[in-house]
Every structure is written in C-alpha cells, then in structure tokens.
Amino acid sequence: MRFKDVFSIMGPSMIGPSSSHTAGAARLGLTARQALGGQPDEADIIFSGSFAETYMGHGTDLAVTAGLLGCAPDDERIRDSIALAEAAGMELRFGTELRPGGHPNTVRFELRKGERALTMVGCSIGGGNVEIVGVDGFDVKFGADCPTLLVNHQDMAGTVAAMALIVGRANLNIRAMDVDRQSRSGRALTVMEMDQAVSAEVRRELQALPQVERVRLIHLNEEEGQE
C-alpha cells in the first residue's frame, strides 16, 4: 500500500499552493537541514523536471528555503523565507538542471556549513510526501516520514548485524533498511527507518562501533534532527 493511514490522505496541514511543490518541498528542505546537521551557511538549490518549470510560481524556492531554516510545511513564514534566510546570513543560489529519467519533482541540494558539506537529492512524490534518493553520492531510498538513522560506516562483515543488535536491544523496530556502498570494503551508508523515536543514547552506542564514522538522525516532527 502506497498510502498507509488516514493522515496520508487527510493532511498535511500546509501552506499552499501545491502539496508537491510547497509542502513536499518544505519537507525536503527540512530533511536536508537535518542531514547536514544544522542551518547551512551556503545553499545551492537545483531544481529539475516540473520543479524547474514552475518553482517560482508555486513558491517552491520559498518552501525549500523555509525547510532549510527549520520551518514545518504549515509555517506561515514560508512566504517570507528567502528574505529571512538572507537576513540570517544564508547564501542562497537557485538553479535548474535536466535529470533524464528522474522523478518530475526533483531537487538537488549542495549545502555547506563550516567544514561540513552535504549533497542530497530528493523528490516530492505527491500529497506532501517525499522520497530521498541520494545522500553524498550514495543511492538511498527513504521517505523521512518516520525517525530515520543515517549511518556512515566501513563496508565490513557484521556491521549491519552489530547496528541491528543495538537498535533491537533498545526495543526499536526497523521498518525498512537500505544499504549502499561505494566499493567493496569501502565507505558505506546504511539508512534505517524506525517505528519509534531514537534516543541520543542509542545514537551514541552506534557511533561507538569501531566501523562507524558518523550517525545522523532525520526526524522531521522534532524541532531539529540530531547529530
């Protein structure tokens, strides 16, 4: 079932005019902010498909920027977000590109915050729902509609089992899991979509695994995802 419950049909509460072009876009911005681990100093936002054609008329640029500022899809500051971002010292650049075969509503983020950088590709798939399809060059697939752990690690036997053990011991259930690696024994990214909220302690335990480089949490209903 693509739509799982009543609130995937009724709602979200959002700022118009388009659940794909504004609500979904705001969620994509918010996801990128959490994946970066805070508000970017610089953001290149590149639209493709229908986003590229109509982003200005629909305020998709405003919605994405609002997400980067930490606004939820129903935040009335969305209308003024570009001015707010500029006032907050965020350097914003918008562009368009062709992505043959990509989802019609796709945005690519190139974000920087101090030493930290993030590339994220996400799609707005309808009704305010989103799908993230790329993080820092890894092919992933997650909806950001539940607490989601992004774990960068070395591709080594037993790593996934060790991570699963930690979340299992904390009584957390993995709803879906996706692993991608750059090369055999190289760097890998595991995405775990969870049924329950993930505590800081669980994230610390994961971080303490020798093969783990970095643990991030995307949790859009929380004020801020945590590193």
């Binding site: 609130f7 049909i9 709602g11 509460s13 959002m14 118009g16 659940s19 609500a23 009704g127």
Partner: protein, 295 residues
Amino acid sequence: MRFATLAELSAQCREADMTIGRYMIEEQVRESDQTEETVVGQMASYYQIMKEAVRKGTTEETKSRSGLTGGDAKRVMEYRALGGTALGGEASAALAYALGVSEVNASMGRIIATPTAGSCGIIPGVFVSTQERFGWTDDKMVEALFAAGAIGYVIANRSFISGAEGGCQAEVGSAVGMAAGALTELRGGTPEQAVHAVGLALKNSLGLICDPVGGLVEIPCIVRNGFGAVTALAAADMALAGVRSVIPSDEVIGVMKDIGAAMPEAHRETAKGGLAQTPTGKAILSDLRKKGGRS
C-alpha cells in the same frame, strides 16, 4: 488497515455496526498505535484550520502570488447576498467556501491537503456549509472527516490522488468522492449508500485532465474546486434518495486508474495540453516567464 476496497469497508462497517467514520477512527488507532484522543485530536485541529481557511477565503484579500487569481469567493458571497443564485443559498455556500479555501491555497495561505492542496477546497466547502445548515457538532464533523479519509485511502491505493499521475479526475474527482461519501453518512445514510455516493460522484469526473495554466495550481483548479463541492452535494442527495452506482464504486475507482494511465503526459499537470495550451493559456505562461514567474 483491514480493508482495501470500498466493498470490504462497507461490509466491515455493517458487521461492526459502525459508521465508516467511527470504523476508520478505530482502524487508525490500531494502525498507528496511538490513542483515540491523539488521532481524533489531530483531525479536530485539521478541521479548525479548514474553517479558518473558509473564513479567510470568503472575507480577506486572496490574491495569488502570480496575480492571476483571487477574490472570486468574495464575489460569489456578494452575489449570494443578493438572494438570486440559481443554486440556492445552501449549495452556493458550498461553492463559495470551496472557492475561498482554494484561493487561500493559491495565495500561500494555510490549508489542509484533502487529499491534495490542488483539491483542498472541496471537503471544507461541503463540510463547513452543511454544518452551518444542519447544526452538526464539531465532533460529528471530525468523525465524518475520518470517513472521507477512509474513502480516500481506498482511492489512493487502488488508483491515484494526484493530477500529475492521473489527471484532475484523480485530484478533484477523489476529493468529490470523499466529500460525497462523508456527507451521505453525515446525513444519516448507511455505509452502502455512502459508497454509492462515491461511485456516483467519481463517475462525473472521469477523464478530467490536469491542465494548469502556466503550470500553477490556480486556473482551472480553483473553479473546479467550486464545481466539485456542488457535485458532492448532488451525489449525496442521489445516494440518500436511493440512487445506486450501477457500476460498483470499486470498479469506478479501477477505471479511473485505467483512464489516468491512458492519458497522454500532456494532460497530466505538465501544462503541455488542455487549457494551458489555449492561446490565452500560452500568453499567460509567456508573461509569467518574462516576469520570472512572479508578480
């Protein structure tokens, strides 16, 4: 959820001796593992936002960001006040409220996507106007929103709810079906009658293309929300009178999917066909491009 079709939904409601709305509340509690208070509370907060959008859309300035639309709900409200609408006071209220919410949406105001933002006017138009007329409590309206959600859940999973995928039939049509079924139940219809209302309503939008001028959710979307609200009232009246959807509603949903899939891409929200490609539609698009898409 333990149902995948409207026939299953209606049979299960009958067996449990519950309305569709009541049944969906219990299903949502089970599915989400949250309390009834939480899920009903969330829907109740949505209903307040819908009412606020109706108020805003019918009383405040609602110029869209593109400058193409705005103020039509107020025009209809003023015309209604003269007392001479062909629809009569009640149906014209549903029309005006639906236009108003849709205009709030186009002006980047706050709305509830039901099921999408492009179709966000229909359910509030029908719900708020009939609540005023019949004096129903908010609790009753919130339960009926769950009924609308149950119907939308079936449509979304067996067909489409977005114009980009299935044309406007999937977007406005789904909302009309959801509103028609829920209103039938609000007025005391059985789950079977509510399901017939869905089929009757949905049939009336089959083949409706998604052809937004300039690619924006404004023209013809706003007026289609107005028309949709009135259609939902008509479908509910037919179902309550005993009119049946001879083609079962689940089959209507199935054929909506077939039609949507057969629609050329030009007729699915790309602005490459339909009204968007009329001489005026093209002129508007080129103006928008010149202005950088912004007024």
